[in-house]
Point group: C2
Chain length 258, copies 2
């Protein structure tokens, strides 16, 4: 009976930097991309507030080329909006529904690069943030597949906020009924410990982190507060034909994807 349970369990692995992703075998696994400050949060907020789909690209040039095809350009580097872009990298930009039914080309310092790194071998790629925490958890539970969580970090360096979010997610996944998930991945175990070290006050814990300081210096404290809010959205952003759509509403967009 025990053996049967172990066989049925799905694995969880955590990749702490896009530069480490090549050392993971992601065949037939779900890859959850995490860039809490702020790409993951932007993507969830945008899709929740009516953006039709988001085309993530690595370079600023690619984003501006998509403008010719009717996309708005959301572009950020080092926390700051890129010159001549339509939108920066603040999830708050989307809350008033201003970009409803628009299509957006998104390029950011870390998040969109992580998506590019993970987008190999037809992996299933979804986006995770505090903003879609519960809906993501429920969705993952229903897929019953092995999971790799990829933390976008900062320019290939480890960061605290992505790992703390990951710890919160892994902690809940491991609590699920019937030992649906298990892990023997040290990064996953470490992420749980880091989440527990927050003692229920994630924001306070993360005041020490490097990117928190960077964004605070840029007067982005409202962005930070929003990005650390649980369950403000009910979307599962998934990469489909190179673009991110809310998979929970995918059928209605399916025929308009390029």
């Amino acid at each position: 009976m025990l053996i049967q349970n172990i066989k049925q369990s799905k694995g969880i692995e955590v990749c702490l930097s896009p530069a480490l992703f090549p050392f993971f075998d992601c065949t037939e696994k779900i890859v959850v991309i995490v860039d809490i400050l702020r790409a993951s949060s932007v993507i969830c907020a945008a899709l929740q507030h009516g953006v039709k789909f988001i085309y993530p690209v690595s370079t600023i040039q690619e984003a501006f080329e998509l403008r010719k095809k009717g996309y708005l350009v959301a572009a950020e580097r080092n926390g700051i909006i890129v010159d001549d872009a339509d939108i920066g990298n603040s999830p708050l930009s989307y809350l008033d529904g201003k970009y409803k039914d628009k299509t957006i080309a998104l390029t950011t310092t870390n998040g969109t690069k992580a998506i590019e790194v993970a987008n190999i071998n037809n992996n299933i790629i979804v986006i995770g943030s505090f903003l879609n925490f519960s809906v993501l958890l429920n969705w993952l539970e229903n897929q019953n597949k092995d999971i790799v969580i990829l933390c976008a970090g900062w320019k290939n360096h480890f960061n605290l906020e992505d790992t703390v979010f990951t710890g919160a997610l892994v902690n809940e996944l491991l609590k699920m009924n019937n030992n649906q998930y298990t892990t023997c991945c040290d990064s996953a175990l470490a992420s749980i410990e880091l989440f527990k070290a927050t003692n229920g006050n994630i924001l306070h814990f993360l005041t020490k982190s490097s990117h928190f300081a960077r964004l605070k210096k840029l007067n982005l404290i409202n962005d930070i507060n929003y990005c650390f809010s649980f369950d403000k959205t009910k979307v599962i952003p998934m990469l489909k034909n190179k673009q991110l759509v809310d998979i929970l509403k995918f059928s209605e967009f399916e025929n308009v994807l390029i």
Copy 2:
């Protein structure tokens, strides 16, 4: 006064995998290589117990080539001694002084690869383990240089035991007088949290870790216990002319190095 203090402070960064090392600028910094289970511990134990110097190499072939020059071959892959090697990767092999005055070519799954990765631009490379914890701490304090701690991990993956050791070391460095050291590196902050999560019982905490399980399965529990013992040695292994020597005794070996 505050500004003066900040300027005087030396930085601490933590690199969680050899694959992330290229993203660190180590110019004029001290690189501390950490592979608790077991290369770091082996190197400390060997030099403490009379081994003259250790030539770390990445490949098994290189190690056997050095045999022709009179070196004993200490070689391990995946926790197991390599066929035809003289010694495996157990620090206990050295405790009875059997290898006193010998020279050893060492190749291991992770530790010697980490040394190779770090050995660029004439970095100052030293070896850290629980076995030389206090002597290393005192030595670092006297150098007054920026520090990068490189965790060897497991085949480029993050591991818990190297990070917990790192957290113990960083925690002590940050406590030093006059804010001699400071850090704004998220990996350093995370390592401290992981060390604190051990609640004073590192071995118990690490029973969950992947490599602990791997070595336990190989009946290496005595090795594990030794590797987690503080201050069993008083050596600072440093890479000099491609070989590791105890820098505290370096002058007497200087003229025999190749």
